[in-house]
């Protein structure tokens, strides 16, 4: 385009030179001297530049050319006001950057389809009457469903498989695993990137045990050896055949246990009596089958199963199909959407601010606009011209926002809690890019349209006559810009209130006394392989005790203990127990968690004994079975009665096969400890059983080591000792208890930190907005102020006058913001703990902060107003 223009320009140049030359030649033919002829020709020709210019005008403008001219003109103007441009672009960059960052998270969680073919036909098949959350089913149910033909292209089961220990490949390593039926790969329509996949005989009980491994594990542990397929590797002491390597990033789209790197093929029995609900069922619905039909057909076998397992399956249970997309999205909660809303507020504030900038600039350009109108420019042309400028700024803001997003991306990602379901990594993609540029264009239009329309509706007469930046649209402009500032202040207050509520929630949770002392505690997990050295419970416990003793002997170590599960991590299902001699709970499901512990557990955690006695080394496998209970449990079961010496019988309601042989005697009551999360409002019923008397497996325990100093430096020593005792036992997830407590708040930290950042940005932008408007009004009223000073107004009075104008806007904005907060804060209810969305102290506090900032923003121009020299002010006008 510009090439074409350049050519034309050259041609014109040559054409005119030719004209001169030909004319001169003709004159020479008539007898003039060469120089004389040239002068004469030039004289007749006239001003070459002028000729060129009028000729050029004939070329005309296509829409594109006119647009490009606007762009050029806009760029020139933008370049001429670097201050204005910088403030506008920075403001937009913050607004757009915040939105883009959050959008990239929301995009991955909510918008992108799951990375599987026809993923909309992939469903989680679940029971609705299930206390654990309506997702898990048991093996008998799955087997019954599998017999129903014609509903699904494939129906598979999958469950998180805990961890397995890989030995014989460098250091022993504990690796997260998943168990799945062979149908799962058909449901997902994936096959291994390398290898042939599971074989039919491997899916049968008694067949070879097959696994798939992740790309990462393959590279890390097997140096990406393509011959791994078909080889046997040792996992927790059992040989397994590697049948495939999955593509990088593969995961089962169920937000539980997604870190798996090994997938075991389940060998399904033809019948099952196992009542435990650990299985997810996912299916690919056949074309032409509705979810309703599938639900109806799958509900029929439930009644029969109820007859078989009356305790585990209710008669009125229903079946419900949820798309896997919905299921994973639901787990993500509303926080990302709330944040997107908050980021939207920031952007609105930024838009209002930039609109205000445009308004004040349009005022100083009123003469230019008036002149152009008088010269015949149409109003639409002027609006387009002004809009082009704001669009350019918007686009620049969009690009800068992309940069802001890019720079802050790692920070935002580090905040996104791991349990937020996100399949496929959160990353910059085309959609994010388009989003930010789209925002740029939108903000350009949004912030430019009103000022452009207003500036172009010039009253020519007055504008040209007055000539100076004056009153011709001062009033109207003033009203619009005041309205913009008021809305900026209002929106900022809403964000501030939200941030304050979230921060108080987080602070409150951090202050929560969990009932144990998390300082100076190192924790780590170990899992024993099923080798001959650890094939009995006794051998395992002897190993732990030996390890425990070695650790206790280390300098600086005060106590060492091990347990089946740490506090804040107790997600044990309901324990069926009966309370002997108490008919109230006899034979009923009582909601109590339990853990196995070594004797030093309470000392290591500093959990005080309320009554009775603690567990000692004397409580062995051979002595009387005992149990300690939490205060809450004591109160719930016995009320005011004395639990000490009473008996609890584990598993008795489930029948002979599942119950312990004898009841346990309650020997003591421990202080309550927060067991599931810091957010819980009620304390738990918890039971403590000595490890020596465990009725369950003991192949995985968590150790904690209380030290006199910060304990994280101890990890290498611990690892060394473990290696010297048993080289094939891996040490997993060493973390201090303080870290675990902090980790448990990840879900809160993510929205809280981001909304606080947004609040701060909003406050900053609004302050700039207030400052700009008040500065402008002071500049406009210099004359008036000069007169007032000349007539004897004191500086204090001038100061008060300016401040009161600014604060009036801020107060109006604050009132509107408070009303809006009242409506919107309810959306935060899910995110808040221990504080009401309409907490008066928070509302008042946020308002005070906002007004203080507004006051500071007015103070500078107000001070400037007091320094107006009446002589200068009057002469200036």
């Amino acid at each position: 385009m510009s090439d074409q223009r350049e050519n034309r320009e050259k041609e014109l140049d040559r054409e005119l030179r030719d004209h001169l030359e030909l004319d001169a030649e003709a004159k020479m033919d008539r007898g003039l001297g060469a120089d004389e002829a040239r002068y004469a020709a030039q004289r007749e020709f006239g001003n070459t530049t002028l000729v060129k210019e009028v000729t050029r005008e004939m070329w005309g403008w296509s829409y594109l050319e006119r647009f490009l001219q606007n762009v050029r003109y806009g760029l020139r103007l933008i370049g001429r006001n670097p201050g204005f441009t910088a403030v506008a672009i920075l403001t937009l960059a913050l607004g757009i950057g915040a939105n883009t960052a959050i959008f990239s998270v929301v995009n991955t969680i909510f918008l992108k389809p799951l990375p599987f073919p026809e993923s909309e036909r992939m469903f989680l098949v679940a029971r609705t009457n299930n206390q654990i959350g309506g997702t898990n089913i048991s093996m008998p149910i799955y087997l019954a469903w599998k017999e129903k033909q014609g509903l699904f292209d494939a129906l598979g089961m999958a469950r998180p498989g805990g961890t397995t220990i890989l030995t014989g490949r460098g250091d022993a390593e504990q690796i997260p695993a998943y168990v799945l039926s062979s149908e799962v790969l058909s449901v997902l329509r994936v096959s291994p990137a390398l290898g042939r996949g599971f074989q039919p005989d491997e899916a049968k009980v008694g067949g070879p045990r097959a696994i798939l491994i992740s790309d990462g594990l393959w590279r890390r542990k097997f140096s990406a050896d393509p011959n791994i397929i078909g080889q046997t590797i040792m996992l927790s002491g059992t040989p397994r055949i590697v049948e495939g390597v999955m593509a990088p990033g593969f995961e089962i789209p169920i937000p539980v246990g997604r870190e798996a790197q090994i997938w075991f093929l389940a060998q399904l029995p033809s019948t099952s009596q196992d009542p435990s609900n650990f299985t997810f069922c996912i299916g690919r619905l056949s074309h032409g089958v509705t979810t309703g039909q599938a639900e109806a057909v799958l509900t029929t076998p439930i009644a029969g199963l109820h007859d078989l397992f009356p305790k585990m399956i209710a008669a009125d249970e229903r079946v419900h199909l949820t798309t896997l997309r919905t299921f994973t999205t639901k787990r993500a909660g509303t926080a990302p959407l709330l944040l997107l809303g908050a980021a939207g507020f920031v952007l609105l504030i930024a838009c209002a601010n930039v609109a205000n900038l445009f308004l004040s600039r349009a005022t100083s350009r009123q003469r230019e606009i008036a002149v152009r109108t008088a010269m015949g420019a149409k109003r639409s042309q002027i609006v387009w011209q002004l809009l082009t400028e704001s669009l350019l700024l918007g686009l620049a803001g969009g690009l800068a926002g992309l940069l802001v997003c890019y720079l802050s991306f790692d920070f935002v990602l580090s905040l996104v809690p791991a349990n937020l379901a996100r399949f496929g990594a959160i990353k910059f993609d085309g959609r994010v890019l388009v989003f930010s540029l789209f925002l740029g264009v939108m903000t350009g239009v949004l912030s430019g349209l009103a000022p452009a329309l207003q500036a172009s509706s010039v009253d020519l007469q007055t504008a040209l006559k007055e000539g100076k930046a004056g009153s011709w649209f001062g009033r109207k402009r003033g009203r619009l810009s005041a309205a913009l500032v008021v809305s900026e202040v209002g929106l900022s207050l809403v964000l501030l209130v939200g941030a304050a509520l979230m921060l108080q929630t987080l602070a409150g949770l951090l202050r929560t006394k969990p009932g144990f002392d998390s300082r100076n505690l190192l924790t780590f997990a170990i899992e024993l392989p099923r080798s001959a050295a650890f094939n009995t419970k006794e051998k395992a416990i002897a190993f732990y005790d030996n390890f425990d003793a070695k650790l206790s002997a280390l300098p600086g170590v005060q106590q060492v203990s091990y347990t089946s599960v740490l506090p804040l991590d107790l997600q044990a299902p309901d324990t069926l127990l009966s309370v002997e001699g108490n008919n109230k709970f006899d034979g009923k499901t009582f909601d109590a968690g339990f853990r196995f512990i070594s004797p030093e557990y309470f000392h290591a955690f500093h959990i005080p004994l309320a009554r009775g006695r603690e567990i000692t080394a004397a409580d062995s496998a051979d002595s009387e079975p005992v149990v300690l209970i939490s205060q809450t449990m004591a109160r719930r079961i016995w009320g005011d009665g004395d639990p000490i010496g009473q008996h609890i019988w584990f598993g008795k309601p489930m029948g002979l096969a599942s119950m312990e042989p004898v009841p346990r005697r309650v020997i003591g009551i421990m202080s309550d400890v927060i067991e599931t999360s810091l957010e819980q409002t009620e304390t738990n019923s918890t039971m403590y059983i000595p490890y020596a008397q465990t009725h369950g497996p003991a192949d995985e325990v968590t150790f904690m080591v209380r030290t006199s100093q910060e304990p994280s430096g101890l990890t290498p020593t611990v690892r060394e000792i473990l290696r010297s005792l048993a080289p094939d036992v891996p040490l997993r997830a060493p973390k201090t208890m303080d870290e675990l407590v902090a980790d448990s708040l990840d879900g809160h930290r993510f929205p809280t930190i981001l909304i606080s950042v947004f609040g701060a940005i909003a406050l900053l932008i609004a302050a700039v907005g207030v400052y700009g408007v008040i500065s402008y009004s002071v500049a406009q009223r210099t004359h008036e102020i000069g007169i007032r000073v000349a007539l004897g107004a004191s500086r204090g009075k001038i100061l008060r006058m300016v401040l009161s104008r600014g604060l009036r806007l801020a107060v109006i904005g604050a009132v509107i913001g408070l009303i809006a907060s009242h409506w919107l804060a309810d959306l935060l209810r899910d995110q808040l703990y221990g504080i009401s969305p309409s907490d008066p102290a928070t509302l008042i506090g946020a308002t005070i902060v906002l007004l203080a900032v507004a006051f500071a923003a007015c103070w500078i121009p107000a001070r400037r107003a007091t320094r107006v020299d009446p002589l200068v002010a009057l002469r200036y006008e």
Binding site: H19, V54, T55
Partner: protein
């Protein structure tokens, strides 16, 4: 008022356009050639200022009435920008011509109303 003013400009513009189209009726010509033709054909009555000639040429070209190309004339050894009539230009010239004749007749009648029979 404004409308009538516009008509007058159009008339003047039309005059120059007509003269250019006329000058090109005898074959392609460069800008200087066109101005010479107009001057000599009008017996030195019209001296077209270059500031009007070139804008007019470019305007007519844009309208599609004339076209341009770089050609080497027989007596020169380099290219000049030559304009020539297009088909649309020839048609335009015909209508302009009849319009002019009508106008001249009308003006003639106004000047010598007595000769009206």
């Amino acid at each position: 008022m404004k409308e009538r003013y516009k008509n007058r400009i159009e008339l003047l513009q039309g005059t120059l356009d007509f003269m250019i189209l006329q000058a090109l009726r005898w074959g392609p010509q460069h800008g200087y050639g066109i101005s010479t033709v107009i001057r000599t054909n009008s017996h030195e009555a019209f001296q077209v200022p270059t500031g009007s000639l070139y804008p007019a040429l470019h305007r007519l070209e844009r309208k599609g009435w004339i076209a341009s190309s770089w050609d080497t004339p027989k007596d020169k050894n380099r290219e000049f920008k030559f304009y020539r009539l297009t088909a649309a230009g020839k048609k335009q010239l015909a209508t302009e011509e009849s319009k002019w004749k009508q106008l001249v007749t009308a003006i003639g009648r106004m000047m010598r109303p007595a000769e009206e029979s």
